[in-house]
Amino acid sequence: MDNLLSEGLELMVFGMGFVFVFLTLLVFVTGLMSKLVTKYAPAPEIKPAKKRTSASASVTAGATAANNDELVAVISAAVHKYRSN
């Protein structure tokens, strides 16, 4: 019984301690991450999308937003021709 109680106390101390340590670390990690993001990829809302597009434009030409626009045009034309005969 006494053993159970001491186990419970220990659980409380270490458990609560660990929760605080973990969330404190998360505060630091999150803060650091946000700082890095703001520093090296500062544009709000619009840049990330833009950045992604331009970065990948050189790599996976077929799959980017730019190409998707183009694709829509192409498909529209194709479908139009295809249906109109």
């Binding site: 159970l4 109680l5 659980l11 409380m12 270490f14 969330l23 404190t24 998360l26 990690v29 809302e45």
Partner: protein, 433 residues
């Protein structure tokens, strides 16, 4: 004529026990609360209905093949079961005790023996095996919740994570309370039971079900019902505590607007959290891993169809089975116990302590920040119960200052509370699992 007698003696009305009758009434009560009082209906409608079905006499829907075999008591089957279970006699209680404490391999053999005797798992028992015993249903719900969660407010003000930490004190205090009651001889909880009961204070349904299914499956019905009921009662439980611990001037504090959070930060957050979990607490990896996975699907913007399914079709399907499975544990012999009373009392204490600690922590942080930066009302949202607790903070804020919208500020601690209780769950599983 013989057939008529068969029909009558196998009917529910002929066989119903007092316990089953009471539990059917409890199921009806849960349905009433869910439908009429809007108590977390998504879970309590299936749980209540499952509870009624589980207590239909003679149907054995919530029992395993072995339990059904013991109930119907064909002598040769009982004999065969006693033999594989190494039970000293063939009376029901001895057999069931031997069965419930047997190793997985003996369990599997006993199940085959019962099937050889012509008995099968009940429908709800099968749902329970697939959804909860396997651990998968709470994890998928966590994934769906992750896909529904916006960490923007938390990222705009990461310090609110401390509020999510403080509110978990309710969990551990309750563990101690449960152990205290046992030490005093009032109740009889093991350390595993105490840990599972404490998690009610985490105010997070799937976490409570996941932990309970690992540590104290026999308490699953009572703990799940308590967890969801109290989450529904947050607007009743929290306000008096919040008012008692704050001054009118504190409640009037207007918080500065949250900064804008970029898409990239939102994408990196679930990944950062996952890595922190991986490095520090592997036992929380299933819960927080699936939560982060859901959130990453939401935020990354390239798998919207998966995120949409995780938030809708999949979580709905899982919720139906999870609810019915939890309901299957509302059988009279497991629920109608003085332990259930203890769980209900301890659960509400856990909620209360968690709320109080959240508010007190917010007061401390406010003091440290100069006394006019953080409205302590948002502290109570740290228990999680998303988004109910944040709404309560907002409501009380409006009462003191009709221009004070705390909702977004309270969403930070609110989602921090989810992380906090999942971490607490990991610690429990590590130490007493």
């Amino acid at each position: 004529m013989e057939k008529l007698i068969t029909l009558l003696t196998a009917s529910g009305i002929y066989n119903i026990s007092g316990g089953q009758f009471v539990m059917i009434v409890v199921g009806l009560l849960l349905l009433y609360l869910a439908i009429n009082k809007n108590f977390e209906p998504l879970l309590l409608v299936p749980i209540g209905f499952g509870g009624i079905m589980a207590n239909i006499p003679e149907a054995g829907l919530a029992f395993s093949a072995v339990e059904n075999a013991v109930h119907f008591a064909k002598p040769e089957v009982l004999q065969a079961l006693a033999s594989v279970l190494s039970a000293s006699s063939t009376d029901a209680e001895t057999l069931l005790h031997a069965y419930h404490t047997s190793s997985p391999s003996v369990h599997a053999t006993a199940s085959l023996v019962a099937q050889d005797g012509g008995y099968n798992n009940g429908m709800l028992y099968n749902f329970y095996l697939v959804a909860i015993a396997s651990g998968v249903a709470p994890l998928l719900i966590f994934m769906g919740v992750g896909a529904m969660t916006d960490f923007g407010p938390l990222l705009a003000n990461p310090k609110t994570l401390f509020l999510g930490a403080a509110a978990q004190f309710g969990i551990f205090a309750t563990v101690l309370g449960a152990i205290g009651l046992t030490t005093l001889g009032v109740m009889d909880f093991s350390i595993q039971d105490a840990a599972a009961i404490g998690i009610i204070g985490g105010a997070d349904g799937p976490t409570a079900i996941y932990v309970t299914s690992l540590l104290a499956p026999q308490l699953l019905g009572a703990i799940a019902v308590a967890a969801y009921s109290y989450m529904a009662l947050v607007p009743l439980i929290q306000p008096p505590i919040m008012r008692a611990l704050t001054t009118e001037s504190e409640r009037k504090i207007k918080m500065s607007q949250l900064r804008h959070v970029s898409k990239l930060e939102k994408i990196l957050f679930p990944i950062s959290l996952l890595i922190l979990v991986a490095l520090l607490l592997p036992d929380a990896a299933p819960l927080l891993g699936m939560f982060c996975f859901g959130n990453l699907m939401r935020e990354c913007g390239v798998v919207d169809r998966l995120s949409d399914t995780a938030q809708n079709a999949l979580i709905n399907i899982v919720t139906i089975f999870l609810g019915l499975s939890v309901g299957s544990k509302l059988s009279a012999d497991k629920f109608l116990d003085v332990q259930t009373l203890g769980i209900l009392v301890l659960g509400i204490i856990a909620f209360g302590i968690g709320t109080a600690c959240g508010v007190l922590m917010a007061k401390v942080m406010n003091k440290m920040a100069g006394g006019n930066a953080i409205n302590p009302l948002i502290g109570s949202a740290g228990v999680s119960a998303v988004p109910m607790a944040a709404r309560v903070s907002n409501k009380l804020g409006l009462e003191s200052n009709s221009q004070n919208f705390l909702l977004m500020h309270a969403m930070g601690p609110n989602v921090a509370g989810v992380i906090g209780s999942a971490v607490a769950a990991g610690v429990m599983i590590k130490f007493v699992g």
